[in-house]
């Protein structure tokens, strides 16, 4: 297999093995971070977008992509970061949502009231990833990472992270 014959599908398979260092249950493909892969002359370009503006994992993800794709034989790899269109949880794959839940993090709901600006709006109904109850409440809109909020289940009493709709 020479570099010229490596197709996009193979590259994506390799990218699927790279996890988000802050949410290791998810690959960067599940998260929707990889927006495009292009072959320009002898250079491979991977276009990525950050989840949140200040996400400290982006630099590490960019480096990991370079190392991972170098094992396929690519000598020149360019990582381009784009900001527009802005990342949204709507880009997370169904497979990603399943993996998140299995990992103990409630997956994002589809876009709804939390994305609007109403003050003191009722917290979103989020399903407990442990016992599936909807009897949960939000402890804090901001959690351990920029992309998560902190919830607690009123049935099984477990606190859990919710990957908030964004």
């Amino acid at each position: 297999m020479t570099i010229k014959t490596i197709d996009k599908k193979t590259i994506y398979t390799y990218l699927e093995e790279i996890n988000d260092p802050e949410v290791p249950a998810l690959s960067i493909i599940d998260l929707g971070i990889v927006r495009n892969v292009r072959m320009n002359a002898d250079e491979l370009e991977v276009v990525i977008t950050p989840t949140y503006t200040g996400c400290p994992a982006m630099d590490m993800i960019a480096t990991t992509i370079k190392i991972q794709l170098a094992t396929l034989g690519f000598k020149k790899i360019k990582i381009t970061q784009v900001l527009s269109p802005a990342w949204t949880t709507e880009w997370m794959s169904e497979e990603g949502k399943r993996k998140l839940k299995e990992y103990g993090i409630a997956p994002p709901n589809h876009k709804q009231q939390v994305c609007d600006q109403k003050l003191f709006a009722a917290a979103e109904a989020v399903q407990c990833p442990h016992c599936n109850s909807y009897d949960t409440h939000r402890i804090s809109e901001f959690g351990s990472t920029a992309c998560k909020a902190l919830y607690q289940c009123d049935d099984c009493k477990e606190p859990f992270d919710y990957f908030k709709c964004h």
Partner: protein, 250 residues
Amino acid sequence: MNQVLIDYTLHLADNSLILGQRNAEWCGHGPVLEQDIAITNISLDLIGQARNFYQYAAILIGNDATEDSLAYLRKEAEFKNCLLVEQPKGDWAQTILRQFFFSQYQYLLFQQMQNSKDEQLAAIAEKSLKEVTYHLRWSSEWVIRLGDGTDESHNRILKAIDELWQYTGELFEASSYELQVANNATGVDVSKLKEQWMTKVKEIFSEATLNMPGKTLMQTGGKEGKHTEHLASIFTELQYMQKTYPGCDW
């Protein structure tokens, strides 16, 4: 080299960096754990904005400029942030009120900047706006909670208004580079945001049982590099490593 666009981009970057740094002072000191996490998350978003703007400015400047050299090696008089963001964090009321004033300003600013003729500025605005929406909602709720709370919280936010209102005028007074980028549709005419900003602040103040301040002499100069003494105290931490160990790296 487009000096006006560089100045404007640095102004936007400096605003976000300095407020991000101020808010980060709460790390480990928030009134309760959840709010400690909230204010430092906001800090992270702001520093993320600053990085995007600095990276862009570095490309525009060329030569050896990097996001790090712009944040760590420029001098006080070269910083173009508004005076509001460099003021001390004060108590929780002061931090909250400042965040609310600034988020309301950024919310209106980025809504407009999404349509900038400069693609990169438009993209940064579009991306940041999603997060600023959270900051605005969170800080608005807190202004209401403090204003319409106990005597203690009400008095503290009154004191914060007394302290900070004098720095709000500068947000809407365009500097020479802001005027020029507004004229060629790459930047936003901030003077046009003032009316909407006042209406929004009045709305939240009224719910928080707070009166709008009367006519106040506004302090300005930050956008042109004339700062209060508080910016220097930020630099003693922010730029300490690079000044003590020039060129140090991780």
